[in-house]
Amino acid sequence: MINKKSLQWIAWVLILPVLLIRGFTTIYPILKTVINSFYDIRILSGVHEFAGVSNYLNIFKDQKVITTLEFTGVFVVVSMFFHIILGVGLALILNMKFKGRRFLRTIVLIPWAMPAVVIGMAGKWAFNNDYGLINDLVRRFVPGFELHWLINTGTARAAVIALDLWKDLPFFAILILSGLQFISSDIYEAAKVDGANAVKSFFYITLPLIMRNVLTLCIPFTLWRLTGFDLVYSMTSGGPGEDTSLIAYRITMEAFTNLNVGYAAALAVLLFLVMAVFSWFNMRFMNRFED
């Protein structure tokens, strides 16, 4: 009789390749990034020396990073707020029965399927005062309308957030829609018999039943916003000044353009911690919600 425990080594052998690959591609880079964050590594200046926590302290003195953190916060909060509100709204529309529903569900995903860099480049032109389609459209209703979207902090930030929503909102809505489709129509019919109108049905039936779905989706969508880089990179290059710079964009600039590897690593570690803390809170909130 073979002892099952004595065969456990086989299981370890079987998962060893995955462990090795994971260790090499995930654990090692994370450890290396943490180590680098304690060094002053400036490749162009040939500097590579231990710096303790000075990279971390510099983050909070660096105006570029402070502006970046500020916009990253605004971007994540505003974008996620509208993702939830408009996403649920769009999902409700897509869940209605009307002619061409299937067609609409298909074409609504087109922006999401396009590469963010392409959308960013198109966005740069779309928001151009002279040649852009946004102002061209507005001018059809408000002749003489002039707005240089990408030169003022507020409007440039609004443009970036709007483009982000335009791209990713449909995907969020489609995923909410999948949750909506699990709600039995019997419940709505029963509520209708009891005198509930559409608004009440939404708040007392639909919303509670899709809430878990929404909260689950909020985790990856928020993390994607936190690591968002390509849209800003191709649309505004973080400008005007650093006003539309996102943290992932700043990390890329520090790491690959300025070659300040140590500083970039400290920023990356900070982002990693923020993401980890956010995910932990979100999971806890979900568990409480379930309870």
């Binding site: 390749p17 490749i43 200046s45 151009n128 191709s234 290059s237 000044g241 300040n260």
Partner: protein, 448 residues
């Protein structure tokens, strides 16, 4: 038991195939490691020469392995319609088979990719084209091979623009690290139709320029246009500082302040639009073609204007830079071909570079890409007198103080930081004093 046996066999096969897959990378990893070693040895000629023997062996080995290419070129010109003809010309003349990798068209992406290739000792690319910003950053890094003894030899060295070679592509050991692919000026361009309309016949002085700005601006049109995106505006700030006789690397200089006040005034008076702070060249040039701008500073020979049918003596053309101070000032630039220190194909690479530095190579580039030859003697021979650039380029060379752009080792960081505060200044978010103080701080920070 049978099931278990089959499972173990299948798993072993899977593991074996995975490991075999990993092992396959060994052959390609070896040259890369060699490359890293060569790079850490520095760019000194003797080290490079010592590395060449090994490199040749490796090249021969790789040649016999795939037999495909003698060297790999990382180029910005591959999207040009004449590129295939140019490549055929180079391959025919050198006998080399060249593998071409297209560099990204976006400047940030391109710089990041090239930086990554060079800094990691990637031996897959032998020759790269780099601009002044990259030259300033990389020339003392040891990533680029010195070419004094092989390509930029004494007999031809003197024919290249001397100030440019010394300032931009010579490293701290006196080694020239690149072959300038062309000679370019940050030329002053005007729209003749607007000049005629404004009744301006000459623009020799600052007063003439201001008169033109006044006359040309209004009704959605501006006397001067630019691309003031934070990484592009550097050229124009430096150009105006130069014209006022200032020094871009000394912001205590009163002439710098004067230049900045002048730019600010242009915005205030509506001679130039503030919305161009979002513009790169691809936004600026269509506006110039559409007659929204009366003048601007721009590199190149006007290909974008030509494509729009706007290039010509009666439309958009180059003009002499107005004189704002004691002399006329102009910047020159180039993209240089450089040899990656980690290259395993140095012999072939040197052959390629020798051709690019020769009369035939420069002629081929001029004919294919409209690149004005960097060598003075070649330009004299190759460029026909009918080429409108020839006259103006020769006037620039003779009448202006020609300078390389002021760059610091941390080039892109410096350029971006200066662009950011410039945008704040022209948007009145910062005073002139604050701008100058900050600019001086940046000069000191990034000059380390």
């Amino acid at each position: 038991m049978k099931k278990k046996l089959v499972s173990i066999l299948l798993s072993a096969a899977l593991t074996g195939s995975l490991l075999a897959g990993c092992g396959g990378a060994d052959n390609t990893a070896a040259p890369a490691e060699g490359g890293t070693e060569a790079q850490s040895d520095g760019g000194a000629a003797e080290d490079a020469a010592a590395g060449e023997g090994a490199a040749d062996d490796a090249a021969a080995e790789s040649g016999s392995k795939d037999g495909a290419y003698d060297l790999t070129l990382y180029t910005i010109n591959s999207t040009d319609e004449d590129f295939p003809d140019w490549l055929a010309n180079v391959e025919g003349a050198t006998g080399l088979k060249i593998n071409v990798i297209a560099a990204p068209t976006d400047s940030d992406t391109r710089q990041q990719k090239i930086t990554t290739i060079l800094s990691t000792g990637d031996a897959n690319v032998d020759i790269l084209e780099i601009n002044d910003e990259m030259s300033a950053s990389f020339k003392n890094s040891g990533w680029l091979e010195g070419l004094n003894d092989t390509v930029m030899t004494e007999d031809i060295r003197g024919e290249f623009p001397q100030g440019y070679v010394a300032d931009m592509i010579t490293d701290k050991n006196g080694q020239i690290i690149g072959v300038p692919g062309y000679s370019g000026y940050l030329a002053f361009w005007v729209n003749q139709q607007i000049l005629d309309e404004a009744g301006i016949t000459s623009m020799d002085t600052k007063e003439d320029f201001v008169k033109y700005l006044e006359a040309a601006s209004g009704d959605g049109r501006y006397g001067y246009g630019g691309s003031w995106e934070k990484t592009y505006v550097f050229n124009e700030i430096a150009q105006f500082v130069n014209m006022f006789g200032g020094d871009y690397l000394d912001w205590t200089n009163p002439a710098n302040r004067e230049a900045m006040e002048f730019i600010h005034e242009m915005v205030e008076k509506g001679y130039t639009p503030i919305d161009q702070i979002a513009d790169k060249y691809e936004q600026m040039n269509p506006k110039f073609n559409d007659g929204k701008y009366g003048s601007l500073f721009m590199w190149g020979l006007g290909t974008d204007y030509d494509k729009a049918g706007m290039l010509g003596a009666d439309k958009i053309h180059m003009a002499m830079v107005p004189q704002f101070s004691d002399q006329k000032y102009i910047f020159t630039d180039s993209w240089s071909y450089v040899l990656n220190t980690a290259s395993q194909n140095k012999e072939a690479a040197v052959k390629f570079l020798q051709y690019m530095a020769s009369e035939e190579g420069m002629k081929a580039s001029y004919e294919a890409f409209d690149r004005y030859p960097a060598r003075r003697d070649v330009a004299e021979k190759v460029v026909p007198d009918t080429d409108p650039a020839k006259e103006m380029y020769s006037r620039y060379a003779n009448e202006c103080v020609v300078k390389g752009r002021p760059m610091l080792p941390q080039t892109m960081e410096f350029i971006s930081a200066m662009g950011t505060i410039f945008q704040s200044y022209v948007k009145d978010e910062m005073t002139l004093d604050e701008f100058c103080t900050k600019a001086q701080e940046y000069v000191e920070t990034y000059n380390q």
